[in-house]
Symmetry: C2
DNA sequence: CCATTATATGCGGATATGCGCATAAGCAAA
DNA sequence: TTTGCTTATGCGCATATCCGCATATAATGG
């Protein structure tokens, strides 16, 4: 629990989760670009999210695709949803369609 | 947001919130006892929760009574509820009535 | 005023966290 | 195999976090 919250309490990691929140797969390089993070930094942060079971990864050729762990227990899924909602309330994400 | 999550991501502070979750007022001395924390430690942690707007305090004679901030915006109230629910799922709180 | 109880805070030290740099490792195409 | 692209990791540094100890501040009662 504490480690889960710690995992969420960091800007790059929270930013990554917000991007993954669309339910799709995203490679490290994409997350780096969108979040303005260096490669090693992004890789390490994703590794920590993975260690804490919040995301899962998949090798796809030279890329590693991350997604939010689809098998999260209900209370953790609820926690993440609440965190994402609170983050959106603070700083709305840029929309893809309709400005 | 990040600072809110950081505030939650510490055992003594999360423990305090779980105690405050009954909606009542609790003094520092009570929290110290129940959480096995030293006085300075407890005081500092409560101070940080207060700084982040999660709790409010009230002087009552020689005591300072803390409660969860009743004026939290919805998304933060939702976040706290989700955190408390997840914490309960991990380690249920001892019940007062009925084991 | 003094003693007692409750809480806050300055200080220094130990440990944890986050970072960049360099390098390794994985994979694909030539 | 060599080259290039992507991701992971060892290392050391800078800073943040947490703690206990000691002391200050606040309030109460004698």
């Amino acid at each position: 629990m504490i480690s889960i919250l710690s995992a969420l309490a960091e800007p790059t990691r929270l930013g990554a989760l917000r991007i993954l929140a669309d339910g799709g797969e995203h490679c490290v390089c994409e997350l780096m670009d969108k979040l303005g993070a260096s490669q090693s930094r992004m890789s390490r942060h994703m590794s920590l999210l993975k260690t804490n079971g919040l995301v899962v990864d998949r090798r796809d050729a030279q890329w590693v695709r991350y997604t939010i762990n689809p098998d999260l227990p209900d209370h953790l899924r609820g926690l993440i949803d609440a965190v994402l909602a609170a983050a959106d309330a603070e700083i709305p994400l840029p929309k893809r369609k309709a400005a």
